[in-house]
Amino acid sequence: MALLEVTDLCAGYNAADVLRGVTFAVEQGGITAILGANGAGKTTLLRAVSGMLRRRGSIRLDGRSIDRLATEDIARLGVAHVPDGRGTFLELTAEENLRIGAYTRKDRNAVAQDLERIFTYFPRLKERRQQQAGTLSGGEQQMLAVSRALMLRPRLLLLDEPSFGLAPLVVQDIFGIMRAINAEQGVSVLLVEQNAGLALDLADKAYVLETGQVVMSGTADAVRSDEAVRRAYLGY
């Protein structure tokens, strides 16, 4: 059974629906990528899963319906969301940001271990741990955002454009670590990206979103070799 099963999801802001009947799934331990142009509804889709906006349709996490739960309760079920714009607590220190990620956890020793593990993934954050998060560079803030989400020990990680605005080398770094985390800790990932090439390298499954509807889906390889996708999103 899939970890996250979304069926016929409609969602939007105010009166208008941005998503119009989207169906997709994230397998246990899998990485699913959602591709699409600006305005296709990618960010809206992640927000709908986290309960940040009005939504209809069925969203199931591990068989349990979560489409009526509040954001904080969804987070408490092990869904960590790295939002659009990173959601950094700019005036807190880097370490405080990480501790907030672990707020719902009571296992203090494991939290301390996870903090150390994160510092081995991202040594830069260790150097900056006492620094105000707002003074970190864009790449460091993205590392911090991903790390904050990991401190929740999530079952499902929602990533909103982790490559946005970052230098290619930093992006490679972050994606490499994401792959490692997925392999080592079995965290399932739902990844939203404009950079389709990057996303398809990481993902095992992909969906293409156009104006709020899924127009194509399949394994990452199948999507990559699709003529239309190649031309529209990969650019060759």
């Binding site: 986290s50 940040m52 509040a70 954001t71 904080e72 309760d73 987070a75 408490r76 960590a80 969301h81 939002p83 959601g87 950094t88 607590f89 700019l90 005036e91 807190l92 405080e96 501790r99 907030i100 990620g101 707020y103 719902t104 904050r148 929740l152």
Partner: protein, 290 residues
């Protein structure tokens, strides 16, 4: 010189009270961007509760503790029941609710306890400590209590996970919810803490200004001036501003403008800060792009 020192010390004592109340204002402002105009009246009502308990024969410190506790719970209840429904309302509606709270607390206090002025006991000895001539025991005591309260709050916000979660909720509610923090309850907790701190300020100032339903109106103005001077979104600024306003008010009252015009100091400070440095000493300057 002796008189001057005396004015400074008693300014520090009342300044501590302004600092506490200013801190209560800032705590709520930081998380909601609203000034709770009823903060002073809530403190006044708490002080009446303490007075009733003491009047009924309860030892001072028991009444003190119980009042702080009841105020804390009441603060939470007010947030949950009255403020929460207008959370997303336009700013004027919220201000109206605050003003309504102010009027309700004021008139209910007058109705239950009457408008006759009552004396409120000080828990500290009447004789000055060590026979000094500069500062009364109540002044030393209230500076001490204020510093303890400020220290406890600092430690709570700085070093406990709950304090961190409250700071996080004030800064970025959305990200906090994504981390599983119940932001609504953090707001309520902030109201509870503010009410508790206000209650302490009320009980400390009551022996000086005497207990009556309007006793906090002046104090709230000074606290408001203190919060503005320090920077309305800065807790440290509020504390610093509180002590400064206290001393300034006392010295100006004693040597320059006379005690009758003391309250003007607060008003002049408020207007001055808003005109010339709206962010205060330690506040953030916001630039918004449109």
């Amino acid at each position: 010189m002796e008189a001057f020192l005396h004015q400074v010390f008693s300014g520090l004592a009342t300044g501590g009270i302004y600092a506490s109340l200013a801190l209560a204002l800032v705590m709520i402002y930081q998380s909601t961007n609203h000034i709770n105009f009823a903060q002073g009246e809530m403190a006044m009502f708490s002080t009446y509760l303490a007075w009733s308990m003491i009047d009924a024969g309860m030892p001072y410190w028991w009444a003190f503790l119980l009042t702080v506790l009841i105020s804390f719970v009441t603060g939470i209840v007010i947030e949950r029941v009255i403020i929460r429904p207008v959370e997303d309302a336009p700013v004027l509606s919220v201000v109206t609710v605050f003003i309504a709270l102010l009027v309700i607390f004021n008139s209910v206090a007058g109705w239950i306890f009457t408008y006759t002025i009552k004396t409120f006991p000080s828990p500290f000895p009447e004789q000055p400590l060590f026979g000094n001539r500069y500062i009364s025991s109540h002044e030393i005591g209230s500076i001490g209590v204020t510093l303890m309260v400020l220290m406890a709050l600092y430690l709570f916000f700085r070093f406990t996970p709950l304090g961190l979660a409250m700071r996080a909720s004030a800064q970025n509610p959305l990200s906090s919810r994504l981390a599983g923090i119940r932001v609504g309850w953090m707001l309520a907790l902030g109201w509870g803490l503010a009410a508790a701190v206000g209650a302490i300020a009320g009980m400390l100032v009551a022996p000086v200004v005497y207990l009556e339903p309007n006793m906090m109106s002046g104090v709230l103005l000074y606290a408001f001036a203190a919060a503005l001077v320090g920077g309305i979104d800065s807790p440290f600024g509020a504390v610093l501003g509180g002590f400064m306003v206290g001393v300034l008010e006392n010295l100006l009252g004693a040597y320059v403008i006379g005690t009758e015009l003391k309250l003007t100091v607060a008003l002049v400070l408020i207007i001055g800060v808003l005109l010339f440095k709206p962010s205060g000493m330690l506040g953030k300057i916001f630039v918004s792009r449109v």
